[in-house]
Symmetry: C2
Subunit: 324 residues, 2 copies
């Protein structure tokens, strides 16, 4: 079968790793292909280099090179470049970039500077991480540079900061007034994105942030329409357990757009195209949306096996949703 | 006193380190200032980052951060970025760039991209290496990007490669037909360069390559005229001992411009502005140029102390040349 998934960073990447593990352990799924449509709203130019945090987290996690403790960045990385930049008085990034990670960003910036599109650059990076051999295609949601900015009001009138500054430096503690996606008005889906949704056997929404990850992908003109129009069932996995995000600050993001932090409220954000919704046992019975089949099970991705079980449950839900 | 020196890479940097050591150990020279006019013809864009090998070698050597074994690059460096670029299939550079070194190039490229001139960028880098505190100002010869290319004929007609490719990858084994300095026609001396020559008490030519280091600096429109016109004595240190370069491939460079590899022939290249010429004992008596006072001593810079002695001898020669 062909699965297409939207994805943000750590949560999405770990779910996708579980999906691949589930495919590996399930003979009848062998030969399946997975297309991942990654959020690029977190993208940022740091030290003059283009950094794509969510795409990189997917690459590193699926490729076995991620730093498991922090979720993003490279395992066993060193920090010589960052140390030298600090010695030179270059203001530090809000998150530490390791030397191996710098290698990715130097290569990406080099290739973008040579005129390759972000799709082409991402395909090259995916090859380095062995994704094609595993049947995985990683597509950026768009080749147009877009950046999520956050409008804040810290008492001196509203001002905007890059999403990464709000998320990492401010740890989302300053309430967001709203999100502005710079560049989205002229963004088009990257080549292959709409076809991947239209031609999928199943579309999955991993437990990524519904506002600043999935929500940004859905904002690319044409993607939401494709989800509404696809014949494939669309199954989502709730990013909230008992109203709290498993990881990250989804609650702060939902508050900014005036949406309650519940599995039901998140499902409602997707109501126009959602066929199945997987929630945690803690939220069983809390979601009742017309046309949406709901299933409950433990949703904590404590390890790859647990993530594989969740992915398997999402596939099961897709199968039952398809035949309703 | 104020000394102005032209400089290439390793040879120039080690001579300048000796000069500073000599100033430090000589009470009557305390308070002296040194302006270094660095060759930028070796500059190259690698991995999308702007690398200035000669300026960096001067910075690292004077700042105590150079890799003493190879002469250029940073001491105790690691190679994680380069390793990742290799894993990504990016063609390698002709010389290994360490991670700390990458920090320099990332910062330089960032600042150049922000619109700072190479002079301004170099001043920032010099501050990190403590040059101002030591009375040293490092100026690029020009803020205009220039690159020395080498015309080769390997049997299939002439073609040109970047100087670094000829020097490092080919180790100057393929005979150079000639050198072309791309961009030199529109280059102007960087701010302060001409004044540093005009207002110096002494101008020094370290034992840098006479063709691709000193020769390139002399090619910047205005610099040679300033050397001819300055009231300061101009003293050079021969880069050849018994006709052989102490380091590097000066002989191959001289052959390309049809000049004999001798201390006398190199001095003749500078005859229009040279007042003093320091040669090795092995070359004593071999140089006889009108208006040029010649002195002989050992010229091998075996350690900082030896380089300081050579620098001291160059200062002495400047004093006697000044009173002739």
């Amino acid at each position: 079968m062909h699965v297409t998934a939207l994805s943000g960073g750590v949560g999405g990447a770990r779910f996708l790793r579980g999906l691949l593990a589930h495919i590996d352990r399930t003979p009848e799924l062998h030969g399946s292909t997975v297309t991942v449509i990654g959020n690029t709203g977190d993208d940022i130019t740091l030290f003059g280099l283009r950094v794509c945090p969510d795409l990189d987290t997917v690459l590193y996690t699926l490729g076995g090179g991620a730093n498991e403790q922090q979720g993003w960045g490279r395992a066993d990385d060193t920090y010589a470049v960052h140390g030298e930049l600090t010695a030179l008085g270059v203001p530090p990034a809000w998150f530490g970039l390791g030397d191996k990670d710098f290698g990715t960003h130097v290569a990406r910036s080099l290739w973008l500077g040579q005129g390759f599109t972000l799709s082409e650059v991402t395909a090259r990076l995916a090859a380095r991480w062995g994704l094609p051999e595993r049947g995985v295609t990683l597509l950026p949601m768009t080749d147009t540079p877009v950046e999520t900015h956050v409008v804040l009001d810290e008492g001196e009138g509203p001002h905007a900061v890059h999403f990464q500054e709000w998320w990492v430096r401010l740890r989302a503690t300053v309430p967001a007034e709203r999100f502005v996606v710079v560049g989205m008005d002229r963004a088009a889906p990257a080549p292959g994105v709409l076809d991947a949704i239209r031609q999928a056997d199943l579309v999955l929404l991993p437990p990524s942030n519904p506002v600043v990850s999935i929500g940004i992908v859905l904002g690319v003109p044409g993607i939401r329409d494709a989800l509404r129009g696809t014949r494939a069932p669309v199954v989502g996995v709730s990013p909230l357990v008992s109203g709290r995000p498993v990881r990250g600050h989804a609650d702060a993001c939902l508050a900014a757009i005036g949406v309650e932090s519940t599995a039901a409220a998140v499902a409602a954000l997707y109501a126009d195209f959602l066929d199945g919704w997987l929630v945690d046992d803690a939220d069983a019975g809390s979601v009742d949306l017309p046309g949406v089949r709901v299933s409950a099970r433990p949703l904590l991705m404590t390890d790859v096996e647990a993530a594989a079980d969740i992915a398997g449950a999402a596939l099961d839900l897709g199968r039952t949703a398809a035949v309703r």
